[in-house]
Subunit: 420 residues, 2 copies
């Protein structure tokens, strides 16, 4: 990672025009471009501020445009896909994440030249590392607070998403704590409605968590959803802190970048960053954001835990994409400021996905969250938690699950129960 | 508009499953749904908190899935599109825009049931009108500050986007002010880099604007791009205010919802809301957001001006979509709190689009912004501005442009010059 003096972004583009001319239109639109000569414009000015095409490689030709509305040159022209790297002088914007968004992901996706445009990756000069705090806790801080070393945190989600009151939530947490859970999160739909007011929920849940910690010496990490306006997030964060809580959760697409930067600055607890809404940013293959690019911004802003979906999940994402996302969260952003975020695996997870996840990721630095994989275990939630721990012991020891299950009943019963 | 007691959202879905079953999965995922029975769950709880399907209408059958990754039932099944309306009890979340995002646009777009899912519209209970301020200036406040009544504000954009220093920017503004411009905006790529520091830019531009106002009695409205972190936005807003400026600009997708709500609360100036990045939210027809749904959230948060693109624009958006967006900005959100935002037309605009825009919108309450349509006028920027004013006079008097051009030279020359 040699230090960069310019901001770089990689794109996958699809165009019926000459790919280089189309890339030049992108570079122009996102820097000093004008459609007509402007008084005062000079070659020196353009040289200083223009975005540059650093690389362009044609990767494919396709039959039909991926997105509607694109133009096409006169006559027959192939629709080509290309990987393009653009770069910008840092001085165009300074080390500002909000302004970075407008630069690398602004008025590009609508350009008529393109029937597809996806942001694949970004690389930032070190000035961004100086300007932003990054995660305050990351893997080490999360492990310390949760009292879990050398294996994934086994987690779950309060379900039903909404409907429970504070006491019902606390009762469920008690059951899970007794079962040996490491981590529990609010559902992202649970906030501060009249049936489950935030402060009452924190008080009821933390009474259970603190009692359990007093007895066992280990405090279950509960991620309370503080998503809301700035003053609400501050107040809710302080409530969690006062009651001895060890994690807050925020929905990135609900809060937005300025809100997350603020939260990252004032938080005294790890931020569990939820990516709900990610589908609208990413699901069209030739549009939007890759997770690789997207997660860098939120890690710099302060996210300690990043959701990455899970293998064989209930959503539409393929396994290789899930693993690429998780690996990226564990890859340093800067040599002297790695900003590592702990990937959170979830969605239809059970004991069965542990070996595949470990084999693909090569690290136990993750939160492995299961709903049905714990709650629907035939011998109850405690056995569900045990089955996940056992599955990870087996995975990390390179023992096939079926072998390990011979003298681990909870795992054996899980393997009989879950389809994946 | 009868007052609503529940939050409603309309979607266009595409699924190979039974559309009602797929809609039930959406409703479950976004409210009290669980995959497995959970201790403490009761029918009363579900009844209280569950999202409801209010309407479902099959609108189409398609040959191939729009998005990859969707599941399909066993055997042959048609892929159908349907319009679905879901509703949620307000008490699930309370009148909170960030939590609304997670509810109506959260973990939906990735659900395996769907090969397409787009949020078309939202309707909110009055509690949201009580909780949020909406635009502080809107059409009336903007007209008052700009000194323009009964016709659109004629606007332009500082180009090149980046590269100019403060004095070069001010020189261009002087030229435009002399030419009779009503409104000028920073490019969204211009923020606070070392070549054009924000405060120096404000000082230089406002010297010109204030001098011109002293001489003519009319103050050009300049939208300074204050996009940045919260403390930066506050400071920049105050700088603009101190120097007699009348507008601030923010990029919605860069700032995010929490930042915009804060800005909406502290601003003493109209907020010119830039939608750059909108393409990644909307350009895949069967994914993401319609502008109709999206703009409601930002108007409630406080946006006074909303970008809507323009007719015959340089981007990929069709004209009917542009007009639908603009009309929506002028449609009241609540009877007693309309939250009207002034639509901003831009992108490849010239005198030629005025009649079509007026005919389709039926209102002069808009900002009509042109770059080349002003700067590239053969007789210079002043003639460019004049040609746009004349085009709007003609449009509003129902006189064909060619007729009006007979004794309006600037317009005549524009009609010769511009392709659209």
């Amino acid at each position: 990672m040699p230090p960069l003096s310019r901001i770089e972004a990689d794109y996958l583009i699809e165009t019926a025009y000459d790919p280089r001319a189309a890339a030049e239109a992108m570079a122009g639109e996102q820097s000093s471009g004008t459609f007509v000569p402007v008084p005062g414009e000079t070659p020196e000015l353009k040289e200083r501020s223009a975005a540059r095409i650093e690389a362009l490689e044609i990767v494919d030709t396709v039959e039909a445009p991926s997105l509607p509305g694109a133009g096409h040159p006169k006559g027959e022209a192939p629709i080509r896909r290309a990987r393009v790297t653009l770069s910008w002088p840092l001085d165009n914007l300074g080390p500002s994440l909000p302004n970075l968004m407008a630069t690398v992901a602004g008025n590009l996706f609508e350009l008529k030249q393109f029937s597809g445009l996806r942001l694949l990756d970004i690389r930032l000069p070190h000035a961004f590392a100086d300007a932003y705090g990054g995660p305050k806790f990351g893997v080490a801080g999360t492990r310390r607070l949760a009292g879990v070393e050398g294996r994934p945190l086994i987690g779950t989600i309060v379900k039903p998403s909404v409907g429970f009151g504070p006491q019902e939530t606390a009762d469920l947490v008690e059951l899970l704590a007794e079962g040996g859970i490491d981590f529990v999160k609010d559902d992202e739909l649970q906030s501060d409605g009249p049936h489950c007011p935030f402060e009452e929920r924190v008080r009821a849940v933390m009474r259970v968590v603190n009692d359990h910690a007093d007895r066992t010496g280990r405090k279950v990490m509960f991620a309370f959803n503080i998503t809301g306006e700035l003053d609400q997030m501050r107040r809710r964060h302080d409530v969690v802190l006062q009651h001895g809580g060890t994690c807050v959760m925020a929905s990135l697409n609900s809060v937005g970048l300025v809100g997350m930067v603020e939260l990252g600055r004032f938080t005294e607890l790890p931020i569990h960053a939820h990516r709900n809404g990610w589908g609208y940013l990413s699901r069209a293959p030739m549009l939007g954001w890759s997770y690789v690019a997207w997660q860098k911004i939120w890690r710099l802003a302060g996210a300690d835990h990043m959701h990455v979906n899970g293998l064989s999940n209930k959503f539409s994402e393929a396994d290789d994409s899930v693993i690429a996302s998780a690996r990226e969260c564990l890859t340093p952003l800067f040599e002297d400021k790695p900003c590592i975020a702990m990937p959170v695996f979830s969605s239809g997870q059970s004991a069965k996905q542990a070996p595949g996840t470990y084999a693909a990721l090569g690290s136990p630095d993750l939160i492995f969250a299961a709903g049905g994989g714990i709650m629907a275990h035939p011998d109850g939630p405690a056995a569900g938690v045990a089955s996940l721990r056992e599955a990870w012991e087996a995975a990390m020891a390179s023992v096939p699950l079926a072998d390990y299950a011979r003298d681990h009943t909870a795992l054996a019963r899980a393997l009989e129960t879950y389809a994946v």
